[in-house]
């Protein structure tokens, strides 16, 4: 316990010194010549336009939120992909070498190499079941994700400016209302 405390204190002291030391050295060494350009806000080398505390379009939030939702859901594909990949590899019936099969089993089950024996190694049939069940799982998961995506799309949440799209739709003649189109054609000669 004491040893651990000592290490903690040591780490804090060393960390603080390493940050503070260059700052202190800099304070004494650097020349002090302030100019208006030097005091200005740094913005990638460009002249600043104005304050960053302004109102901006609410749509940024909606799009950012949607991005995060779908991004996070796609992250769930990664652990699945590693298992699915390993299982598919093992489900290959032409893979007859026991040594390779044992090595792949260890990789899939995340044990140190050499753990699997001839009894515990995964057979082609087992790997096949695993892969199929995993595939069914991801289909359901992805299906639900797609329904959500389609819903968001059909609601118009992906249109950048919803009000303008709605106006454009109203202004354009509706495709379904064919009778009214016919009427206007007939009305034109008059």
């Amino acid at each position: 316990m004491l040893d651990l405390n000592f290490h903690l204190v040591l780490a804090v002291i060393v960390g603080a010194t390493l940050i503070l030391l260059p700052l202190i050295i800099g304070k004494f060494v650097r020349p002090r010549i302030p100019t208006p350009e030097k005091d200005a806000v740094y913005e990638c080398g460009e002249p600043t336009i104005g304050s960053s505390y302004i109102q901006f379009d609410l749509r940024f939030y909606v799009v950012a939120l949607l991005f995060i939702i779908f991004d996070v859901e796609v992250v769930f594909f990664f652990p699945w992909a590693t298992i699915f990949g390993g299982a598919t590899q093992l489900s290959d019936a032409s893979l007859t070498s026991d040594a390779v099969r044992m090595e792949l089993t260890d990789k899939l089950t995340n044990f140190p190499a050499g753990t699997a024996t001839a009894e515990t190694m995964i057979s082609a049939e087992t790997a096949q079941t695993m892969a199929l069940v995993g595939f069914a799982d991801i289909l359901v998961f992805f299906g639900v994700l797609l329904v959500g995506f389609a819903y968001v799309w059909s609601r118009g949440d992906l249109d950048w400016v919803r009000a303008m799209v709605a106006q454009a739709k109203q202004a354009a003649p509706s495709r379904r209302a064919t009778p009214s189109l016919v009427e206007t054609h007939e009305a034109q000669p008059v």
Partner: protein, 571 residues
């Protein structure tokens, strides 16, 4: 064990059984997807979202009902149906393809992440019944409107699935997942009245508070898992005894202190969901800003689910060992203090309120305090050592009685609070106000409004705990449990005294609402209020159980059922 055996066990043993038990939740999930699809394909005008949601919930409700009856009537064991009830249960069971190996066998499922037993089923049943009633209410009051319907019901059903997961949680991670899954949709539901400043403010406060509580809770869970080396609830007690190495439970023991710290942090998360003092600050604001329908849903459903989860989490530390007893008594007294604070603060703060929803919010804080008394008594009683002078059967009986009291209270509370919030929602549609003053002289309006006033009277009297309403028996049961627990620990006397005094105090502010309705003169400039007859019928239907659960054979029926369920917890 080879991978082959594990996979065979999962696919042929655990998975079919789990899906059979989990079917109601899956039906709800399908209903959510259907809600989205229906809107995309047919639009909201042709098929309103409320009917899809109502249908999905009803099917899920019958599913859980079939499961509950299947276990209750012992159909899984005997297989013969003699009485009409058993015949109905048998018919339902065959409709939902229930098998003795699946729903019939009690125990963990989904590799022990969730628990399937009578206790879970009772709460799943209550939750789904409540959601059916809430959806019916939203159909009648017209919040949400047709356009927002799919969004609202998606959130509502999503939150319900979370609650059903929470009541069955058998693993620390599932506890967190359940709590979060029921919280996140409710944040959005609180802010659902778009364009109302108050509503957005309420949602923001709720979200920030909820995020903080969830963080603390997750840290607590990691501490518990770290010190005990397991996430599974049934293993916690055994691992704790091992970790203690025969030392006594006390403030100088590092393992004990760390575990208590972890449990207290988890209890912060629970206290937030249950709006217990000092984690109640979001509650009045959230309820005032949210629509009354949402307020009703949050006040009952999320509380019931959290209480079920709390009981299950704390009962994980039951066992005859001296260390576990020390831990339980410590937690029991801590919860008693929180219960006292919640009751007193909730009741005192309710006095000065002029908004009915705020008043009801403080009332729910006080009621969470009353219900916490049962949990506190349960912790003191369960597995008390023989030196206290109680026989084993006595301890078993009284532990079951404490849980039974809590379940009975929640069942009655479901109807009391639903009636109160429904009346507020309906009167908001008629008078456009939620102030107590706007209720002046409502009893002189049309018959349906008179019925509303009568239903409010029953709900309020039941909330106070006056006989012959259900609230009286609910309070009586919990008070009796605390009285028995006082035999084991003196602090329960204090709890009992505070609770008794609070019950008397609470009469006054409930009566203020009733006085406005029945005694105060009607304002002259008000237009006539025409509550639709259909709404009146709905209110009468949900107000009737308050009376029936207090003064009819139904009272003993529910007590017996609750007792049967509670006893299964202590086998």
């Amino acid at each position: 064990m080879t991978v082959q055996q594990i996979i065979d066990g999962l696919i042929n043993g655990d998975l079919p059984r789990a899906i059979e038990i989990f079917a109601p939740e899956l039906i709800l999930c399908a209903a959510i997807v259907l809600l989205l699809l229906v809107r995309m394909i047919f639009g909201v005008q042709r098929i309103p979202a409320c009917w899809v949601a109502l249908l999905g919930t009803l099917v899920a409700f019958t599913g859980v009902f079939a499961q509950f009856m299947y276990l209750k009537t012992d159909l899984s064991i005997t297989g013969v149906a003699d009485t009409p009830v058993e015949e109905l249960a048998a018919r339902l069971a065959s409709a939902y393809h229930l098998t003795p190996e699946g729903v019939g066998s009690v125990g963990g499922f989904f590799t022990d992440l969730l628990m399937h037993d009578q206790f879970t089923l009772f709460f799943r049943l209550g939750l789904l019944l409540f959601v059916v009633l809430v959806i019916a209410l939203t159909v009648l009051t017209g919040i949400p409107d047709n356009d927002d319907g799919p969004d609202f019901y998606t959130l509502l059903l999503g939150s319900t699935v979370g609650m059903m997961l929470a009541v069955g949680a058998n693993n620390l991670l599932m506890i967190f997942l359940g709590i979060e899954m029921m919280s996140v949709p409710s944040y959005a539901m609180v802010g659902f009245l778009k364009g109302r400043r108050q509503s957005s403010e309420a949602a923001l406060k709720y979200v920030v508070y909820g995020a903080g509580a969830a963080g603390v809770m997750l840290y607590g869970l990691s501490l518990i898992a770290g010190i005990l080396g397991t996430l599974s609830l049934p293993e916690l007690a055994g691992h704790f005894v091992t970790v203690m190495h025969g030392e006594t439970f006390g403030p100088t023991n590092a393992a004990a202190v760390t575990l208590v710290l972890g449990i207290m942090m988890v209890l912060v998360g629970f206290a937030f969901k249950l709006s217990l003092v000092p984690f109640h600050f979001w509650c009045p604001d959230a309820f005032e800003g949210a629509a009354a329908e949402v307020g009703g849903f949050l006040s009952v459903a999320s509380k019931a689910a959290s209480f079920a989860l709390l009981v299950r989490f704390l009962l994980a530390f039951s066992g005859p060992e001296e260390v576990l007893h020390g831990l339980r008594v410590f937690l029991g007294i801590g919860l008693a203090v929180i219960a006292c604070l919640s009751m007193t603060l909730g009741n005192l703060a309710a006095y000065t309120q002029t908004n009915v929803k705020r008043l009801l919010a403080y009332s729910t804080i006080a009621h969470a305090g009353y219900m916490l008394m049962a949990v506190s008594a349960l912790l003191i009683i369960t597995d008390a050592p023989a030196t206290e002078g109680w026989t084993r059967s006595q301890i078993f009986y009284q532990s079951a009685r404490a849980v039974e009291g809590l379940m009975y209270y929640l069942a009655v509370y479901l109807f009391m609070n639903l009636v109160a919030f429904s009346v507020v929602a309906i009167l908001r549609n008629e008078t456009y106000s939620e102030e107590i003053d706007s209720y002046n002289g409502l009893v002189h309006q049309n018959p349906a409004t008179k019925l509303l006033c009568l239903a409010m009277l029953m709900a309020m009297f039941s909330l106070v705990g006056l006989p012959p309403f259900g609230g009286f028996f609910a309070k009586l049961q919990i008070f009796t449990s605390v009285l028995y627990a006082a035999d084991l620990h003196w602090s329960m006397w204090v709890l009992l005294a505070v609770a008794g005094a609070n019950t008397v105090f609470s009469l006054v502010y409930y009566l203020r609402v009733l006085k406005a309705m029945f005694i105060n003169p009607e304002p002259e400039e008000r237009r006539a209020i025409q509550t639709p007859a259909l709404v009146g019928t709905y209110i009468a239907l949900i107000a009737l159980p308050i009376f029936l659960l207090g003064a009819s054979p139904l009272q003993s029926d529910l007590t017996d059922t609750a007792n049967y369920v509670a006893r299964t917890l202590f086998r």
